[in-house]
């Protein structure tokens, strides 16, 4: 239900998300949705409450919800949550960040993009090369 909002937050967390085509974004969304669906109902409720907070808390300072802020303002909000004096806010942000990283770096094609190319069949001894 919150996937669209989560992905818009995700563009600030993993900026590479912004450059993905529609199919790439769908793959990220599918990974995130699958991971959320596998969590117990209690955790899903916590995530949805945190996303609600993340969307609306900025209105108190900026007069607008998160998704209508400029990029730099969004970053300031996220930085505040990331380093918040309140542990539940830090943990909430960590959860969101983890989901985004899972969606973005968990795509099998991401590996090659970032120079990670392990060979299932293995590697020859290093000094024999």
């Amino acid at each position: 239900m919150y996937t669209m909002f989560l992905l818009s937050v995700g563009e600030r967390i993993a900026p590479g998300l912004h450059d993905l085509d529609a199919a790439g974004r769908r793959r990220v969304a599918a990974i995130v949705e699958r991971a959320v669906a596998a969590r117990p109902p209690r955790v899903r409720r916590q995530l949805s409450a945190f996303l609600h907070l993340l969307r609306w808390l900025p209105a108190a300072r900026y007069g607008r919800p998160f998704d209508r802020l400029r990029g730099a303002q969004q970053d300031a909000v996220l930085r505040w949550f990331h380093d918040s004096p309140l542990a539940p806010f830090r943990h909430g942000f960590w959860g969101v960040k983890t989901l985004i990283f899972m969606g973005y770096y968990g795509r099998p094609e991401a590996a090659a993009e970032i120079g990670y190319r392990p060979a299932r069949a293995g590697a020859p001894p290093f000094h024999a090369r």
Binding site: I13, F89, G115, P118, F126
Partner: protein
């Protein structure tokens, strides 16, 4: 509900359960029936794909993302035929005598543990990898430690035919890692033990001496040995080896907490950080065995170990404190990253414990104590020194004032990586060494089992896994778990004739 009857039921097939199954399997020749009830799947060879998320989902509880109640620590533990040994890295070290002295368990002596550890070193083909198999990530660590005067040792590892695909923690796709799924369980099965996979044990009914379990059909893996459905398994002896989270949970669900005040308590987990340094040029890191060296230089003085490691993209990204362009820049250089795993040697405290919630699911309460946080920050500084001495251009320290610490600032590490920079949630802490919860000791007031894994006051019930540890192992634990499980098997063998049908 179907009924089954066996002589010995073993719950879990990991380092503990697999060992005890093999050690007891010669009894099958004399007509003793042994069943291992394992909740995880038994994968087919082609199902080891090496793909990060797919394998995490197949082989770990909750895909490797079990969180402690306060969400400060992610606990990774295996869920498969072979348990966590399917995903472990295979580094093999015996318990130190000094640790055993701290454990202070009457009846558990060092020579006995050493002898049994040596047996499993041989059985699991533990050896040092030859120099030509050591990649740059490991070589740089060892060289830098020597330059800095830090004690450094090569890890003995238990591989046979390792091809250096570097995917140990996703299950070796080449079958080279000598976990219980490769060595002990197949041997046990050859001797007549039945291993029932996809079989989750809910509880033990102490009055009836039965185990309640459910066998599921799964889309992956070999079909289980028993038909899907609910089972009541009657046994003469029951051995719980479901790991440090699930063994206490099973005993708690079985209503054993009343007499055993320590049940679930004194959980330790070697809280860990994955740290990265970035080089200017590619290094060999993701190919080759990931973990060839460790340093215990700071173990006594500062309470942490340093080990080489190399993780996969998502796990690496998750361990970075920050978001946006800086993590992106670091992550886009995976072939230039050097990695160190830091393990804090945490004290066993009664408040760190496993309980079960209203639905019977395990919940782990674990507080990152002040000494552990201090150790982890000091370990970040020591690791940064190692990265810089290896030639890294910049380093990410999760408690750092800035995302990157540049090589030019390497003389200001104490200032740039302050103690107060460590905030739970901001710094990603994980654990793969789960210990305690059914600790050995003298009596039911302060422990759950005796020095041979026998549950106090219940002569037919035993524990044989990492939950036996009275305190942290202070070193990678699997060999010690096997050595302890070997003792439990010996005790069960001796007591079985006295136990009624």
């Amino acid at each position: 509900m179907r009924d089954k009857q066996v002589d010995i039921a073993i719950i879990g097939s990991g380092a503990g359960g697999g060992t005890v199954a093999k050690a007891l399997s010669p009894l099958c020749r004399d007509g003793v029936s042994v069943a291992v009830l394992e909740s995880g799947p038994r994968l087919k060879e082609e199902e080891y794909t090496g793909r990060e998320l797919e394998m995490a989902e197949r082989l770990y509880f909750d895909g490797g993302g079990v969180l402690t109640r306060d969400r400060s620590v992610t606990l990774a533990f295996g869920h498969a035929y072979g348990g966590s040994t399917v995903v472990y890295t295979g580094t093999s070290l015996p318990l130190r005598e000094s640790t055993l002295r701290k454990w202070n368990v009457r009846g558990l002596d060092f020579d006995d543990l050493q002898r049994r550890s040596r047996k499993y070193f041989a059985e699991n083909h533990v050896h040092l990898l030859p120099d030509e198999c050591i990649n740059d990530n490991n070589r740089l660590f060892a060289g830098a430690c020597r330059t800095l005067g830090y004690r450094v040792e090569q890890f003995p590892v238990n591989v046979d035919g390792c091809r250096g695909s570097g995917l140990c923690n996703l299950g070796c796709p080449n079958g080279a890692k000598m976990g219980t799924h490769r060595v002990q369980l197949p041997q046990a099965e050859r001797n007549g033990v039945t291993v029932v996979t996809n079989c989750a044990v809910d509880r033990i009914d102490p009055a009836a001496r039965t185990v309640r379990a459910t066998v599921r059909r799964e889309a992956i893996g070999h079909p289980p040995a028993w038909e899907p459905g609910e089972y009541r398994v009657r046994a003469r002896a029951v051995i719980v080896a479901a790991g440090a989270v699930n063994s206490p949970a099973i005993l708690l669900r079985s209503g054993l907490a009343g007499d055993l005040k320590a049940l679930g308590r004194y959980f330790t987990c070697h809280p860990a950080l994955i740290l990265v340094g970035q080089h200017d040029h590619p290094i060999t890191n993701f190919s080759g065995h990931p973990k060839s060296y460790y340093s215990d230089h700071f173990a006594e003085s500062e309470g942490f170990l340093l080990e080489t490691c190399m993780y996969f993209p998502f796990v690496t990204a998750k361990s970075l404190a920050g978001f946006g362009d800086e993590p992106r820049a670091l992550m886009s250089a995976m072939d230039r990253l050097q990695m160190i795993l830091v393990l804090a040697l945490d004290a066993a405290l009664p408040g760190n414990r496993v309980t079960v919630n209203g639905r019977g699911e395990p919940v782990v309460d674990y507080r990152l104590s002040e000494p552990v946080r201090a150790s982890l920050v000091k370990a970040m500084r020591a690791s940064a020194r190692i990265f810089f001495a290896s030639g890294a251009r910049r380093v990410h320290a999760p408690a750092g004032r800035t995302f990157f610490v540049e090589a030019g600032d390497s003389d200001r590490l104490d200032d740039l990586i302050p103690l107060e920079g460590f905030k739970a949630g901001k710094v990603s802490v994980s654990s793969a060494h789960l210990m305690g919860g059914c600790r050995m000791g003298d009596g039911p007031a302060a422990s759950v089992t005796d020095a041979w894994g026998g549950v106090h006051g219940v002569p037919w019930l035993f524990v044989a896994d990492a939950s036996l540890f009275p305190g942290s192992a202070e070193i990678n634990p699997y060999i010690t778990i096997m050595a302890l499980a070997d003792r439990v098997a010996e005790r069960v063998r001796g007591r079985l004739p006295e136990l009624p049908q």
